[in-house]
Protein backbone atom coordinates (compact mmCIF):
# COMPACT_ATOMS: atom_id res chain seq x y z
CA UNK A 1 0.00 0.00 0.00
CA UNK A 2 1.54 3.33 -0.98
CA UNK A 3 1.83 6.23 1.40
CA UNK A 4 -1.22 8.44 2.06
CA UNK A 5 0.56 11.42 0.53
CA UNK A 6 1.26 10.32 -3.01
CA UNK A 7 3.16 11.70 -5.97
CA UNK A 8 1.73 14.81 -7.56
CA UNK A 9 1.11 13.91 -11.20
CA UNK A 10 2.03 17.41 -12.36
CA UNK A 11 5.60 16.83 -11.19
CA UNK A 12 6.04 13.53 -12.99
CA UNK A 13 3.68 13.81 -15.97
CA UNK A 14 6.48 14.18 -18.53
CA UNK A 15 8.50 11.17 -17.45
CA UNK A 16 5.32 9.15 -16.82
CA UNK A 17 4.16 9.68 -20.39
CA UNK A 18 7.65 8.73 -21.57
CA UNK A 19 7.37 5.47 -19.64
CA UNK A 20 3.83 4.76 -20.84
CA UNK A 21 4.83 5.39 -24.46
CA UNK A 22 7.78 2.98 -24.31
CA UNK A 23 6.99 -0.48 -25.59
CA UNK A 24 7.86 -2.43 -22.44
CA UNK A 25 5.71 -3.35 -19.39
CA UNK A 26 5.59 -0.04 -17.50
CA UNK A 27 4.73 -1.39 -14.05
CA UNK A 28 8.24 -1.50 -12.59
CA UNK A 29 9.09 2.07 -13.53
CA UNK A 30 5.68 3.32 -12.37
CA UNK A 31 6.34 1.62 -9.02
CA UNK A 32 9.66 3.43 -8.73
CA UNK A 33 7.91 6.73 -9.51
CA UNK A 34 5.40 6.08 -6.71
CA UNK A 35 5.63 7.16 -3.09
CA UNK A 36 6.68 3.75 -1.79
CA UNK A 37 5.57 1.44 1.00
CA UNK A 38 3.02 2.85 3.42
CA UNK A 39 2.99 2.40 7.18
CA UNK A 40 -0.13 0.24 7.31
CA UNK A 41 1.06 -3.26 6.52
CA UNK A 42 0.78 -6.62 8.25
CA UNK A 43 4.27 -7.88 7.55
CA UNK A 44 5.76 -9.41 10.68
CA UNK A 45 8.96 -7.32 10.72
CA UNK A 46 10.35 -4.71 13.10
CA UNK A 47 12.14 -2.72 10.43
CA UNK A 48 10.49 0.50 9.24
CA UNK A 49 9.99 -0.05 5.53
CA UNK A 50 7.78 2.97 4.76
CA UNK A 51 8.94 4.67 1.59
CA UNK A 52 10.65 1.55 0.28
CA UNK A 53 9.89 0.90 -3.39
CA UNK A 54 10.77 -2.74 -3.89
CA UNK A 55 8.62 -5.18 -5.82
CA UNK A 56 6.61 -7.42 -3.51
CA UNK A 57 6.67 -10.30 -5.95
CA UNK A 58 2.90 -10.77 -5.68
CA UNK A 59 2.71 -11.72 -9.35
CA UNK A 60 -0.44 -9.72 -10.13
CA UNK A 61 1.22 -8.13 -13.15
CA UNK A 62 2.32 -11.50 -14.53
CA UNK A 63 -1.18 -12.91 -14.09
CA UNK A 64 -3.00 -10.01 -15.78
CA UNK A 65 -0.67 -9.56 -18.75
CA UNK A 66 -2.72 -10.26 -21.93
CA UNK A 67 0.41 -11.06 -23.89
CA UNK A 68 1.42 -13.82 -21.45
CA UNK A 69 -2.14 -15.16 -21.59
CA UNK A 70 -1.76 -15.52 -25.34
CA UNK A 71 1.74 -17.03 -25.05
CA UNK A 72 1.89 -18.93 -21.73
CA UNK A 73 5.10 -20.68 -22.78
CA UNK A 74 7.00 -17.48 -22.03
CA UNK A 75 6.10 -17.89 -18.37
CA UNK A 76 8.15 -21.05 -18.23
CA UNK A 77 11.35 -19.07 -18.76
CA UNK A 78 11.40 -18.10 -15.09
CA UNK A 79 9.66 -18.97 -11.87
CA UNK A 80 9.94 -15.41 -10.62
CA UNK A 81 6.79 -13.36 -10.42
CA UNK A 82 8.27 -9.89 -10.13
CA UNK A 83 7.94 -6.86 -12.40
CA UNK A 84 11.56 -7.42 -13.41
CA UNK A 85 10.62 -10.92 -14.60
CA UNK A 86 7.63 -9.48 -16.49
CA UNK A 87 9.85 -6.97 -18.25
CA UNK A 88 12.36 -9.58 -19.26
CA UNK A 89 9.88 -12.15 -20.60
CA UNK A 90 7.51 -9.70 -22.34
CA UNK A 91 9.91 -6.94 -23.35
CA UNK A 92 9.05 -5.18 -26.59
CA UNK A 93 6.07 -7.47 -27.25
CA UNK A 94 4.11 -5.40 -24.67
CA UNK A 95 0.57 -4.49 -25.78
CA UNK A 96 0.76 -1.19 -23.82
CA UNK A 97 -2.59 -1.99 -22.22
CA UNK A 98 -1.32 -0.68 -18.83
CA UNK A 99 -3.20 -3.39 -16.97
CA UNK A 100 -0.03 -4.28 -15.00
CA UNK A 101 0.16 -0.73 -13.67
CA UNK A 102 -3.42 -0.88 -12.44
CA UNK A 103 -3.05 -4.18 -10.57
CA UNK A 104 0.28 -3.39 -8.85
CA UNK A 105 -0.26 -2.80 -5.11
CA UNK A 106 2.86 -0.63 -4.96
CA UNK A 107 1.85 1.94 -7.60
CA UNK A 108 0.32 5.21 -6.36
CA UNK A 109 -3.40 5.74 -6.85
CA UNK A 110 -2.63 9.12 -8.41
CA UNK A 111 -0.67 7.38 -11.18
CA UNK A 112 -3.42 4.78 -11.67
CA UNK A 113 -6.02 7.53 -11.93
CA UNK A 114 -3.88 9.29 -14.51
CA UNK A 115 -3.54 6.11 -16.54
CA UNK A 116 -7.31 5.48 -16.43
CA UNK A 117 -8.34 9.05 -17.21
CA UNK A 118 -5.72 10.02 -19.75
CA UNK A 119 -4.27 6.90 -21.31
CA UNK A 120 -7.02 4.29 -21.42
CA UNK A 121 -9.57 6.77 -22.78
CA UNK A 122 -7.35 7.21 -25.81
CA UNK A 123 -7.35 3.50 -26.44
CA UNK A 124 -11.12 3.30 -26.03
CA UNK A 125 -11.80 6.23 -28.33
CA UNK A 126 -9.66 4.54 -30.97
CA UNK A 127 -11.77 1.44 -30.57
CA UNK A 128 -15.15 3.13 -30.59
CA UNK A 129 -14.34 5.68 -33.27
CA UNK A 130 -16.28 3.63 -35.73
CA UNK A 131 -19.60 4.37 -34.02
CA UNK A 132 -19.23 8.04 -33.18
CA UNK A 133 -16.99 9.74 -35.71
CA UNK A 134 -18.34 13.10 -36.80
CA UNK A 135 -16.46 12.88 -40.08
CA UNK A 136 -18.28 9.71 -40.98
CA UNK A 137 -21.60 10.56 -42.63
CA UNK A 138 -24.65 9.58 -40.60
CA UNK A 139 -26.73 7.60 -43.08
CA UNK A 140 -29.74 7.63 -40.77
CA UNK A 141 -30.09 11.37 -41.37
CA UNK A 142 -30.77 10.55 -45.02
CA UNK A 143 -33.15 7.77 -44.10
CA UNK A 144 -35.07 10.14 -41.82
CA UNK A 145 -35.25 12.68 -44.65
CA UNK A 146 -36.59 10.03 -47.00
CA UNK A 147 -39.21 8.84 -44.52
CA UNK A 148 -40.45 12.20 -43.34
CA UNK A 149 -40.41 14.02 -46.68
CA UNK A 150 -43.77 15.37 -47.73
Amino acid sequence: MPLPVQRDIREIEGILNEILNTRCPPVGRCRLLSSGFGTAHSLNIAEDISGHKECLGCGNCVDICPFLSREPSRREKTEQRTSMALESIVGEDCDLCNACVLVCPQVDTTIKNYVVNHRMVEVMSRLERRIGDEDEPDLDLFLEEAISSD
Binding site: N117, V121, I131, P137, F142, E144, E145, A146, S149
Partner: protein, 385 residues
Protein backbone atom coordinates in the same frame (compact mmCIF):
# COMPACT_ATOMS: atom_id res chain seq x y z
CA UNK B 1 -28.42 32.35 -19.05
CA UNK B 2 -31.47 33.84 -20.70
CA UNK B 3 -34.52 31.70 -21.36
CA UNK B 4 -36.54 34.56 -22.82
CA UNK B 5 -37.14 34.54 -26.57
CA UNK B 6 -36.08 37.70 -28.37
CA UNK B 7 -38.77 40.06 -29.66
CA UNK B 8 -38.11 38.95 -33.24
CA UNK B 9 -38.51 35.28 -32.33
CA UNK B 10 -41.69 35.99 -30.38
CA UNK B 11 -43.07 37.78 -33.42
CA UNK B 12 -42.26 34.86 -35.73
CA UNK B 13 -43.83 32.46 -33.23
CA UNK B 14 -47.04 34.46 -32.95
CA UNK B 15 -47.27 34.87 -36.75
CA UNK B 16 -47.02 31.11 -37.19
CA UNK B 17 -49.44 30.47 -34.32
CA UNK B 18 -52.06 32.84 -35.74
CA UNK B 19 -51.68 31.32 -39.19
CA UNK B 20 -52.23 27.82 -37.83
CA UNK B 21 -55.21 28.87 -35.69
CA UNK B 22 -56.91 31.09 -38.30
CA UNK B 23 -56.08 29.32 -41.56
CA UNK B 24 -55.10 25.69 -41.00
CA UNK B 25 -57.17 24.43 -38.08
CA UNK B 26 -60.50 25.34 -39.78
CA UNK B 27 -59.42 23.08 -42.68
CA UNK B 28 -58.94 20.01 -40.49
CA UNK B 29 -62.37 18.60 -41.28
CA UNK B 30 -61.59 18.79 -45.02
CA UNK B 31 -58.67 16.47 -44.38
CA UNK B 32 -60.25 14.17 -41.82
CA UNK B 33 -63.51 13.86 -43.74
CA UNK B 34 -67.05 14.95 -42.95
CA UNK B 35 -68.96 11.85 -44.05
CA UNK B 36 -70.04 9.32 -41.43
CA UNK B 37 -67.70 6.68 -42.84
CA UNK B 38 -64.97 9.26 -43.56
CA UNK B 39 -65.03 8.29 -47.23
CA UNK B 40 -64.17 11.89 -48.13
CA UNK B 41 -61.03 11.96 -46.00
CA UNK B 42 -57.94 12.91 -47.97
CA UNK B 43 -54.19 13.10 -47.63
CA UNK B 44 -53.49 16.60 -48.92
CA UNK B 45 -55.34 19.84 -49.42
CA UNK B 46 -56.50 20.69 -52.97
CA UNK B 47 -53.67 22.33 -54.92
CA UNK B 48 -55.53 25.63 -55.38
CA UNK B 49 -56.00 25.91 -51.63
CA UNK B 50 -52.34 25.14 -51.02
CA UNK B 51 -51.27 27.79 -53.53
CA UNK B 52 -53.55 30.32 -51.78
CA UNK B 53 -52.07 29.47 -48.37
CA UNK B 54 -48.53 29.59 -49.76
CA UNK B 55 -49.26 33.08 -51.10
CA UNK B 56 -50.34 34.19 -47.63
CA UNK B 57 -47.14 32.81 -46.08
CA UNK B 58 -45.08 34.63 -48.73
CA UNK B 59 -46.80 37.87 -47.80
CA UNK B 60 -45.93 37.21 -44.18
CA UNK B 61 -42.30 36.86 -45.30
CA UNK B 62 -41.91 33.36 -43.92
CA UNK B 63 -41.80 31.25 -47.09
CA UNK B 64 -38.73 29.00 -47.04
CA UNK B 65 -38.01 29.31 -43.32
CA UNK B 66 -35.29 26.69 -43.27
CA UNK B 67 -33.79 27.53 -46.67
CA UNK B 68 -30.69 29.77 -46.64
CA UNK B 69 -31.15 33.31 -47.95
CA UNK B 70 -28.70 32.86 -50.85
CA UNK B 71 -30.78 29.94 -52.11
CA UNK B 72 -33.99 31.95 -52.18
CA UNK B 73 -35.39 31.21 -48.73
CA UNK B 74 -35.75 33.35 -45.63
CA UNK B 75 -32.73 31.75 -43.96
CA UNK B 76 -34.01 31.91 -40.38
CA UNK B 77 -32.02 30.58 -37.43
CA UNK B 78 -32.55 27.00 -36.30
CA UNK B 79 -34.41 28.26 -33.21
CA UNK B 80 -36.84 30.27 -35.33
CA UNK B 81 -37.41 27.27 -37.61
CA UNK B 82 -38.12 25.14 -34.52
CA UNK B 83 -40.67 27.68 -33.27
CA UNK B 84 -42.45 27.71 -36.63
CA UNK B 85 -42.44 23.91 -36.98
CA UNK B 86 -43.70 23.47 -33.43
CA UNK B 87 -46.74 25.58 -34.31
CA UNK B 88 -47.28 23.88 -37.68
CA UNK B 89 -47.20 20.43 -36.07
CA UNK B 90 -50.25 21.31 -34.01
CA UNK B 91 -52.60 20.68 -36.86
CA UNK B 92 -53.25 17.61 -38.97
CA UNK B 93 -53.37 19.73 -42.13
CA UNK B 94 -50.23 18.84 -44.09
CA UNK B 95 -48.80 22.22 -44.93
CA UNK B 96 -45.34 23.69 -44.54
CA UNK B 97 -43.66 27.05 -44.92
CA UNK B 98 -41.55 26.15 -47.98
CA UNK B 99 -39.75 23.17 -46.58
CA UNK B 100 -37.01 21.83 -48.86
CA UNK B 101 -34.74 18.92 -48.00
CA UNK B 102 -31.20 20.16 -47.24
CA UNK B 103 -29.81 17.47 -49.52
CA UNK B 104 -30.65 19.90 -52.35
CA UNK B 105 -28.79 22.81 -50.75
CA UNK B 106 -25.56 21.58 -52.36
CA UNK B 107 -26.92 22.18 -55.89
CA UNK B 108 -24.64 23.95 -58.37
CA UNK B 109 -25.79 27.30 -59.82
CA UNK B 110 -27.42 25.64 -62.84
CA UNK B 111 -29.00 22.94 -60.71
CA UNK B 112 -30.38 25.62 -58.39
CA UNK B 113 -32.23 27.25 -61.27
CA UNK B 114 -33.43 23.97 -62.70
CA UNK B 115 -34.36 22.06 -59.56
CA UNK B 116 -34.07 23.92 -56.24
CA UNK B 117 -35.94 27.14 -57.14
CA UNK B 118 -38.94 25.33 -58.71
CA UNK B 119 -39.07 23.09 -55.62
CA UNK B 120 -39.15 26.09 -53.34
CA UNK B 121 -41.79 27.72 -55.56
CA UNK B 122 -43.99 24.61 -55.27
CA UNK B 123 -43.73 23.99 -59.01
CA UNK B 124 -41.70 20.79 -58.90
CA UNK B 125 -41.79 17.95 -56.40
CA UNK B 126 -38.53 16.25 -55.45
CA UNK B 127 -38.85 12.45 -55.14
CA UNK B 128 -36.24 11.33 -52.65
CA UNK B 129 -35.16 7.95 -53.99
CA UNK B 130 -32.97 6.42 -51.33
CA UNK B 131 -34.73 3.26 -50.22
CA UNK B 132 -35.01 0.03 -52.13
CA UNK B 133 -37.67 -2.61 -51.69
CA UNK B 134 -35.25 -5.23 -50.37
CA UNK B 135 -32.64 -2.86 -49.02
CA UNK B 136 -33.46 -2.96 -45.32
CA UNK B 137 -32.53 -0.10 -43.08
CA UNK B 138 -28.94 0.31 -44.24
CA UNK B 139 -28.82 2.69 -47.20
CA UNK B 140 -25.14 1.96 -47.86
CA UNK B 141 -25.96 -1.53 -49.12
CA UNK B 142 -28.06 -0.33 -52.04
CA UNK B 143 -28.20 -2.38 -55.19
CA UNK B 144 -28.92 0.33 -57.73
CA UNK B 145 -25.95 0.98 -59.99
CA UNK B 146 -24.83 3.88 -62.16
CA UNK B 147 -22.21 3.10 -64.80
CA UNK B 148 -20.15 5.83 -66.42
CA UNK B 149 -20.38 5.60 -70.20
CA UNK B 150 -18.89 8.31 -72.48
CA UNK B 151 -19.28 11.09 -69.92
CA UNK B 152 -22.84 10.05 -69.13
CA UNK B 153 -24.20 7.80 -66.43
CA UNK B 154 -26.47 4.83 -67.07
CA UNK B 155 -28.82 4.24 -64.15
CA UNK B 156 -30.34 0.81 -63.67
CA UNK B 157 -32.49 -0.33 -60.77
CA UNK B 158 -35.64 0.27 -58.71
CA UNK B 159 -36.24 2.69 -55.89
CA UNK B 160 -38.99 3.45 -53.41
CA UNK B 161 -39.95 6.97 -52.46
CA UNK B 162 -42.31 8.27 -49.81
CA UNK B 163 -42.25 11.81 -51.18
CA UNK B 164 -45.40 13.59 -52.20
CA UNK B 165 -46.45 13.00 -55.79
CA UNK B 166 -47.03 15.91 -58.18
CA UNK B 167 -47.54 16.68 -61.86
CA UNK B 168 -44.05 18.02 -62.38
CA UNK B 169 -41.27 16.26 -60.52
CA UNK B 170 -37.68 15.12 -60.49
CA UNK B 171 -35.96 12.29 -58.65
CA UNK B 172 -33.08 12.66 -56.23
CA UNK B 173 -31.52 9.27 -56.80
CA UNK B 174 -28.81 7.59 -54.76
CA UNK B 175 -26.92 4.98 -56.75
CA UNK B 176 -23.64 3.13 -56.45
CA UNK B 177 -20.76 4.15 -58.74
CA UNK B 178 -17.15 2.98 -58.83
CA UNK B 179 -16.11 5.64 -56.32
CA UNK B 180 -19.00 5.13 -53.89
CA UNK B 181 -22.64 6.18 -53.60
CA UNK B 182 -23.43 9.16 -55.86
CA UNK B 183 -26.53 11.34 -55.94
CA UNK B 184 -28.18 12.18 -59.28
CA UNK B 185 -30.93 14.60 -60.20
CA UNK B 186 -33.17 12.93 -62.79
CA UNK B 187 -35.81 15.09 -64.44
CA UNK B 188 -39.31 13.83 -65.13
CA UNK B 189 -38.93 13.48 -68.88
CA UNK B 190 -35.62 11.62 -68.88
CA UNK B 191 -35.84 8.52 -71.08
CA UNK B 192 -35.81 5.28 -69.11
CA UNK B 193 -37.26 6.84 -65.93
CA UNK B 194 -40.80 5.89 -64.94
CA UNK B 195 -42.91 6.23 -61.80
CA UNK B 196 -45.80 4.09 -60.64
CA UNK B 197 -48.05 4.46 -57.62
CA UNK B 198 -48.24 7.51 -55.39
CA UNK B 199 -51.82 8.39 -56.36
CA UNK B 200 -53.61 10.40 -53.72
CA UNK B 201 -55.91 8.25 -51.66
CA UNK B 202 -59.23 9.17 -50.19
CA UNK B 203 -61.32 7.57 -47.49
CA UNK B 204 -59.96 5.61 -44.59
CA UNK B 205 -56.71 4.79 -46.38
CA UNK B 206 -55.90 8.50 -46.82
CA UNK B 207 -53.49 8.56 -43.92
CA UNK B 208 -51.43 5.58 -44.99
CA UNK B 209 -48.46 6.65 -47.04
CA UNK B 210 -47.98 4.29 -49.93
CA UNK B 211 -44.50 4.42 -51.46
CA UNK B 212 -44.02 5.27 -55.09
CA UNK B 213 -42.03 2.89 -57.19
CA UNK B 214 -39.35 4.55 -59.32
CA UNK B 215 -37.92 2.44 -62.13
CA UNK B 216 -34.70 3.30 -63.94
CA UNK B 217 -34.07 1.25 -67.05
CA UNK B 218 -30.87 2.30 -68.86
CA UNK B 219 -31.70 5.83 -67.81
CA UNK B 220 -29.11 8.19 -69.29
CA UNK B 221 -28.15 11.04 -66.99
CA UNK B 222 -25.62 13.73 -67.98
CA UNK B 223 -22.63 14.33 -65.70
CA UNK B 224 -23.84 17.85 -64.84
CA UNK B 225 -26.82 16.28 -63.06
CA UNK B 226 -24.60 14.76 -60.38
CA UNK B 227 -25.49 16.44 -57.11
CA UNK B 228 -22.34 17.31 -55.19
CA UNK B 229 -19.29 15.19 -55.91
CA UNK B 230 -19.21 11.72 -57.36
CA UNK B 231 -19.05 9.07 -54.63
CA UNK B 232 -19.85 11.63 -51.92
CA UNK B 233 -23.64 11.40 -51.80
CA UNK B 234 -23.71 10.91 -48.06
CA UNK B 235 -21.70 14.09 -47.52
CA UNK B 236 -24.50 16.22 -49.01
CA UNK B 237 -26.18 18.80 -46.81
CA UNK B 238 -24.05 17.86 -43.84
CA UNK B 239 -24.09 21.43 -42.57
CA UNK B 240 -27.87 21.38 -42.26
CA UNK B 241 -28.93 17.77 -41.74
CA UNK B 242 -28.18 17.45 -37.97
CA UNK B 243 -30.26 20.58 -37.50
CA UNK B 244 -33.19 18.85 -39.20
CA UNK B 245 -33.16 16.28 -36.45
CA UNK B 246 -33.74 19.07 -33.93
CA UNK B 247 -36.50 20.51 -36.12
CA UNK B 248 -38.20 17.12 -36.17
CA UNK B 249 -37.93 17.17 -32.37
CA UNK B 250 -39.75 20.49 -32.40
CA UNK B 251 -42.51 18.86 -34.46
CA UNK B 252 -42.87 16.17 -31.80
CA UNK B 253 -43.24 18.91 -29.19
CA UNK B 254 -45.95 20.56 -31.29
CA UNK B 255 -47.85 17.30 -31.68
CA UNK B 256 -47.62 16.63 -27.95
CA UNK B 257 -48.96 20.11 -27.21
CA UNK B 258 -51.98 19.51 -29.41
CA UNK B 259 -52.55 16.13 -27.77
CA UNK B 260 -52.45 17.83 -24.37
CA UNK B 261 -55.05 20.37 -25.55
CA UNK B 262 -57.31 17.58 -26.78
CA UNK B 263 -56.83 15.57 -23.60
CA UNK B 264 -57.64 18.60 -21.45
CA UNK B 265 -60.90 19.20 -23.31
CA UNK B 266 -61.77 15.53 -22.86
CA UNK B 267 -60.89 15.57 -19.15
CA UNK B 268 -63.08 18.64 -18.63
CA UNK B 269 -66.07 17.41 -20.60
CA UNK B 270 -66.36 13.70 -19.87
CA UNK B 271 -68.28 12.53 -16.84
CA UNK B 272 -68.27 9.00 -15.49
CA UNK B 273 -70.03 7.65 -12.40
CA UNK B 274 -71.59 11.05 -11.81
CA UNK B 275 -68.30 12.90 -11.66
CA UNK B 276 -66.21 14.81 -14.21
CA UNK B 277 -63.11 12.72 -14.85
CA UNK B 278 -60.68 15.61 -14.24
CA UNK B 279 -61.51 15.32 -10.55
CA UNK B 280 -59.81 11.94 -10.44
CA UNK B 281 -56.22 12.09 -9.33
CA UNK B 282 -55.07 9.54 -11.90
CA UNK B 283 -56.38 11.77 -14.70
CA UNK B 284 -54.70 14.79 -13.14
CA UNK B 285 -51.46 12.78 -12.89
CA UNK B 286 -51.70 11.88 -16.57
CA UNK B 287 -52.14 15.55 -17.52
CA UNK B 288 -49.21 16.53 -15.32
CA UNK B 289 -47.02 13.82 -16.88
CA UNK B 290 -47.81 15.09 -20.36
CA UNK B 291 -47.07 18.71 -19.43
CA UNK B 292 -43.79 17.77 -17.76
CA UNK B 293 -42.66 15.71 -20.74
CA UNK B 294 -43.48 18.50 -23.17
CA UNK B 295 -41.59 21.03 -21.09
CA UNK B 296 -38.46 18.90 -20.84
CA UNK B 297 -38.50 18.09 -24.56
CA UNK B 298 -39.01 21.69 -25.52
CA UNK B 299 -36.06 22.85 -23.42
CA UNK B 300 -33.87 20.22 -25.08
CA UNK B 301 -35.00 21.29 -28.55
CA UNK B 302 -34.49 25.00 -27.88
CA UNK B 303 -31.08 24.46 -26.33
CA UNK B 304 -29.87 22.33 -29.24
CA UNK B 305 -31.21 24.88 -31.74
CA UNK B 306 -29.54 27.70 -29.82
CA UNK B 307 -26.23 25.84 -29.84
CA UNK B 308 -26.53 25.26 -33.56
CA UNK B 309 -27.21 28.97 -34.11
CA UNK B 310 -24.09 29.80 -32.12
CA UNK B 311 -21.95 27.71 -34.43
CA UNK B 312 -21.43 24.81 -32.05
CA UNK B 313 -21.49 21.17 -33.08
CA UNK B 314 -24.85 19.63 -32.24
CA UNK B 315 -24.05 16.09 -33.32
CA UNK B 316 -24.67 14.70 -29.83
CA UNK B 317 -27.44 17.12 -28.86
CA UNK B 318 -29.37 16.31 -32.03
CA UNK B 319 -29.10 12.62 -31.20
CA UNK B 320 -30.37 13.28 -27.68
CA UNK B 321 -33.25 15.41 -28.98
CA UNK B 322 -34.32 12.74 -31.43
CA UNK B 323 -34.12 9.97 -28.89
CA UNK B 324 -35.91 11.90 -26.17
CA UNK B 325 -38.64 13.54 -28.22
CA UNK B 326 -39.56 10.29 -29.97
CA UNK B 327 -39.92 8.54 -26.64
CA UNK B 328 -41.68 11.59 -25.21
CA UNK B 329 -44.37 11.47 -27.89
CA UNK B 330 -44.93 7.80 -27.20
CA UNK B 331 -45.32 8.49 -23.47
CA UNK B 332 -47.72 11.33 -24.22
CA UNK B 333 -49.80 9.10 -26.51
CA UNK B 334 -49.93 6.52 -23.74
CA UNK B 335 -51.10 9.09 -21.18
CA UNK B 336 -53.67 10.49 -23.60
CA UNK B 337 -55.00 6.95 -24.04
CA UNK B 338 -55.39 6.86 -20.28
CA UNK B 339 -57.47 10.04 -20.28
CA UNK B 340 -59.57 8.92 -23.23
CA UNK B 341 -60.16 5.60 -21.54
CA UNK B 342 -58.84 3.73 -24.53
CA UNK B 343 -56.47 4.07 -27.47
CA UNK B 344 -56.76 7.47 -29.10
CA UNK B 345 -56.55 5.93 -32.55
CA UNK B 346 -60.21 6.54 -33.22
CA UNK B 347 -60.85 7.27 -36.84
CA UNK B 348 -61.90 10.79 -37.61
CA UNK B 349 -60.22 12.36 -34.61
CA UNK B 350 -57.26 14.65 -35.19
CA UNK B 351 -55.30 12.61 -32.70
CA UNK B 352 -55.05 9.60 -34.91
CA UNK B 353 -53.16 11.46 -37.61
CA UNK B 354 -51.12 13.42 -35.12
CA UNK B 355 -49.85 10.24 -33.52
CA UNK B 356 -49.21 8.64 -36.88
CA UNK B 357 -47.20 11.57 -38.17
CA UNK B 358 -45.22 11.93 -34.97
CA UNK B 359 -44.27 8.30 -34.89
CA UNK B 360 -43.48 7.79 -38.55
CA UNK B 361 -39.96 9.19 -38.34
CA UNK B 362 -39.16 6.82 -35.51
CA UNK B 363 -40.59 3.85 -37.35
CA UNK B 364 -37.16 2.33 -37.62
CA UNK B 365 -36.02 1.21 -34.20
CA UNK B 366 -32.49 0.97 -35.54
CA UNK B 367 -32.15 4.73 -35.87
CA UNK B 368 -33.04 5.16 -32.19
CA UNK B 369 -30.34 2.68 -31.24
CA UNK B 370 -27.96 4.66 -33.42
CA UNK B 371 -28.72 7.82 -31.40
CA UNK B 372 -27.79 5.91 -28.28
CA UNK B 373 -24.46 4.89 -29.77
CA UNK B 374 -23.69 8.51 -30.76
CA UNK B 375 -24.31 9.66 -27.18
CA UNK B 376 -22.39 6.72 -25.72
CA UNK B 377 -19.53 7.42 -28.11
CA UNK B 378 -19.11 10.91 -26.66
CA UNK B 379 -19.26 9.60 -23.10
CA UNK B 380 -16.52 7.11 -23.91
CA UNK B 381 -14.42 9.95 -25.30
CA UNK B 382 -14.54 11.58 -21.89
CA UNK B 383 -17.71 13.68 -22.03
CA UNK B 384 -18.98 14.76 -18.62
CA UNK B 385 -22.70 15.39 -18.81
Amino acid sequence: MDFELSEELKMIQSLAREFVTDQLKPLERDILGRAADFSDARTYLPEEKEAELAGMVREMGLWGVGVPGELGGVGLDALAVCLVEEELAQTVVPFHFGDVTPILFDCSKEQQEKFLRPTLDYKKKPYLALMESDGGADPSGMKMKADKVNGHYLLNGDKLSLSRAGDDYFAVVFAGTDSGVTCFLVDKDTAGFSVTGGDERTGWLAQVKEPMSLVFDDCRVPAENVLGKEGKAFHLGRKWLPQRRVVRGARCVGVARRLLDEATVQARSLETFGQPIFKRTSIQAALADIAMNIHAARLMVYEAAWKSDNGKSIWREAAMVKLYTTQMVQTVVDRVAHIFNGPPYIEGLPMERLCRRALEASAIELTLERQRSIIAGDILKGLKV
